[in-house]
């Protein structure tokens, strides 16, 4: 039973991070039809800012957190305005190539600015110690952060579903021309989408950095979230949260019962099985061809 509980909550912790990352990628995808392969670097930037701050002068945590999130949001906006907007009307992969380029540029910039560090992020005020649940010993800090990421992902998905701003973001992502004819400032919505997507990645990076080392390998977490996105549905905001949670929990069980060497093969195996039954993802939009 304790292994079950550890798998569930450990997987939930990872799932919360995947959910935030996946939400950001889906938001950016709906805005520009582009998979952002620099999303891992978007995670890493605020984590580096916070980690470097704490390793250096120290001081209130909120300062580097706010600074890091503003920086990464601005980066997302600038990248959209200067690069991605100009790929509209071109072949789809042009935007994807552009994100690869951004990823390479950011990797180089991080190396120059931070070197090859191994930071860790300490969030003061988080409960320390161990919580015993059904015989399993769980980290109180991890439980808190899991709850935080899941609640945040749920709130963002809920806001996108029910609030006027969220409705406009979804409308613009659905059909830009139709949205503009409904009076929606599509350009502003896309800018906001990229800013929010980058910020979500930044939060995911900071949270991930509290339980794991902050180094260049963090970008792999974003790549690991891609199965979550495809399982949930590439164009589904709710699917991003569901897919992230599903993949995270699945990986928790795989790591506990089978071992970490099976993580990749079984995660992508799960993806293939879901694709067989739901080619559009669990909550993605089914394509209907009218004949």
């Amino acid at each position: 039973m304790d292994r079950l509980v550890v798998s569930l909550f450990g997987g939930g912790n990872l799932g919360g991070t995947y959910a935030l990352v996946a939400l950001g990628i889906v938001l950016a995808f709906r805005a520009t039809g582009t998979f952002n392969f620099a999303h891992g670097q978007f995670m890493l930037l605020p984590a580096f800012v916070v980690g470097a701050w704490q390793a250096g002068s120290g001081g209130p945590l909120w300062i580097p957190v706010v600074e890091g999130l503003i920086m990464v949001s601005a980066l997302g906006v600038v990248f959209y305005l200067l690069v991605l907007q100009r790929t509209v009307g071109l072949l789809h992969f042009m935007g994807v190539i552009a994100t690869f380029g951004l990823a390479a540029v950011l990797d180089g910039a991080f190396l120059i600015q931070y070197g090859s560090p191994q930071y860790s992020i300490d969030v003061p005020g988080l409960p320390k110690g161990v919580v015993t649940l059904l015989g399993a010993h769980l980290s109180a800090q991890e439980l808190t952060l899991t709850a935080f990421t899941l609640v945040l992902a749920g709130l963002v998905a809920g806001a996108l579903r029910f609030t006027p701003v969220g409705i406009k973001i979804r409308a613009a992502g659905q059909d830009a021309i139709l949205a503009s004819q409904g009076g929606i400032n599509v350009r502003l919505v896309y800018v906001g989408s990229w800013a929010l997507a980058a910020a979500l990645a930044g939060v995911a990076g900071i949270v991930y950095g509290t339980s794991n080392l902050v180094n260049h390998s963090m970008v792999d977490v974003a790549l690991a979230a891609f199965p979550a996105i495809l399982i949930g549905g590439l164009d589904s905001i709710e699917g991003a949260v569901v897919g992230g949670l599903l993949v995270g929990i699945a990986q928790g069980f795989i790591a506990t019962y089978l071992g970490p060497q099976y993580l990749d093969v079984l995660t992508y195996g799960l993806l293939l099985v879901v694709m067989l039954v739901f080619p559009q993802g669990i909550l993605g939009t089914r394509t209907v061809t009218r004949v």
Partner: protein, 320 residues
């Protein structure tokens, strides 16, 4: 010499096409009339659109009065849809476009929609997995009058507003004859019904000008008959100015107050439906007229078509 009278055809002033109840419900939809009708609703001057080396429109002039139904006709590639896209600023253009006295040719597309121009499309951009009602409501974003804070702190206002918008959408679905389809997924509709949903979507924000891009294309005879009734009702009720692009001459003849014929991006001629559709010049240029038409057209002096600002309410007779 033949005299061509350039007159707008006046709307039928007989019995109203809609009953009092529907008229009252339409009042709720078209609830933002213009304060003044001293200027034309839409004025287009020297509209030119170029795609690289290709000139799609060249110095096009069109006027639409507040309660007119102006039809743009012409062969494929004449620039009809391009005209609508230019008005909506979905493509770049030069020239001047004035809407209710305000210049709009430098505004973003969403601002033009927010200013009171509703647009339907040749291929209705409906969201198949949404219901018909939800698709109509897609046109109502600009009428949203609540924000996130209202949703948190004042839910009754939000509920009232949502109910009001749903009533508007249902009124329009009733008007176009699709009220019983409101709960169906748009993906299950026939093409003709999708067209009508798209028109309802274009109207839900209560626009002052409707741009309808080939509303009758793909419709069968019964559906065209319904569309004709809808257009005539809108014209009779004087709710909104309408600018359509259409290929069906019968529909144009029976609904339009004014017709503009385009060919190769230029205005070939403009006038009342009878003047344009029955003219030899039009028949020869557009549909390939009879030998008698060709002979008559050859005898006509080669002069530019009359500009639309000559067609005032009293009309003007022009000698050829």
């Amino acid at each position: 010499m033949a005299v061509v009278a350039l007159r707008r055809e006046e709307p039928d002033r007989g019995k109203s096409a809609v009953d009092a109840s529907m008229a009252s419900r339409l009042d709720e939809v078209f609830d933002n009339p213009l304060r003044t009708t001293d200027v034309e609703l839409l004025t287009i001057r020297d509209l030119t659109v170029r795609f690289g080396g290709l000139t799609a429109l060249s110095a096009v002039n069109i006027d639409v009065g507040h309660h007119d139904l102006v039809s743009i006709i012409g062969p494929n590639g004449a620039g009809k849809t391009t005209t609508l896209n230019a008005i909506c600023q979905l493509i770049k253009c030069t020239g001047e476009i004035h809407f209710a006295g305000r210049r709009i040719d430098r505004l973003a597309a969403w601002r033009i929609a927010a200013a009171g121009i509703g647009r339907s499309f040749q291929d209705p951009p409906l969201i198949d997995h949404y219901t018909v009602l939800e698709n109509v409501l897609c046109g109502a974003h600009q009428r949203l009058r609540y924000g996130m804070l209202h949703q948190v702190f004042w839910p009754p206002r939000v509920r009232r507003f949502e109910a009001r918008m749903a009533r508007r959408a249902m009124t329009l679905l009733d008007f176009v004859g699709l009220a019983d389809q409101a709960g169906k997924d748009a993906g299950s509709l026939s093409f003709g019904a999708r067209k009508l949903v798209d028109i309802a979507r274009a109207m839900v924000s209560g626009p002052r000008l409707l741009l309808l891009d080939e509303p009758s294309s793909g419709l069968d005879e019964a559906e065209r008959h319904s569309l004709r009734a809808i257009l005539l009702a809108l014209r009779q009720e004087k709710r909104v100015g309408i600018l359509t692009v259409d290929h069906h001459m019968d529909l144009v003849r029976s609904t339009a107050t004014h017709v503009v014929a385009l060919q190769a991006g230029e205005v070939l001629m403009a006038g009342s439906p009878a003047e344009v559709l029955d003219s030899a010049r039009f028949r020869v240029a557009i549909v390939g007229g009879s030998r008698a038409d060709e002979k008559l057209a050859a005898e006509l002096p080669n002069e530019p078509p009359p500009s639309d600002n000559d067609t005032g309410d009293g009309g003007r007779e022009e000698e050829l």
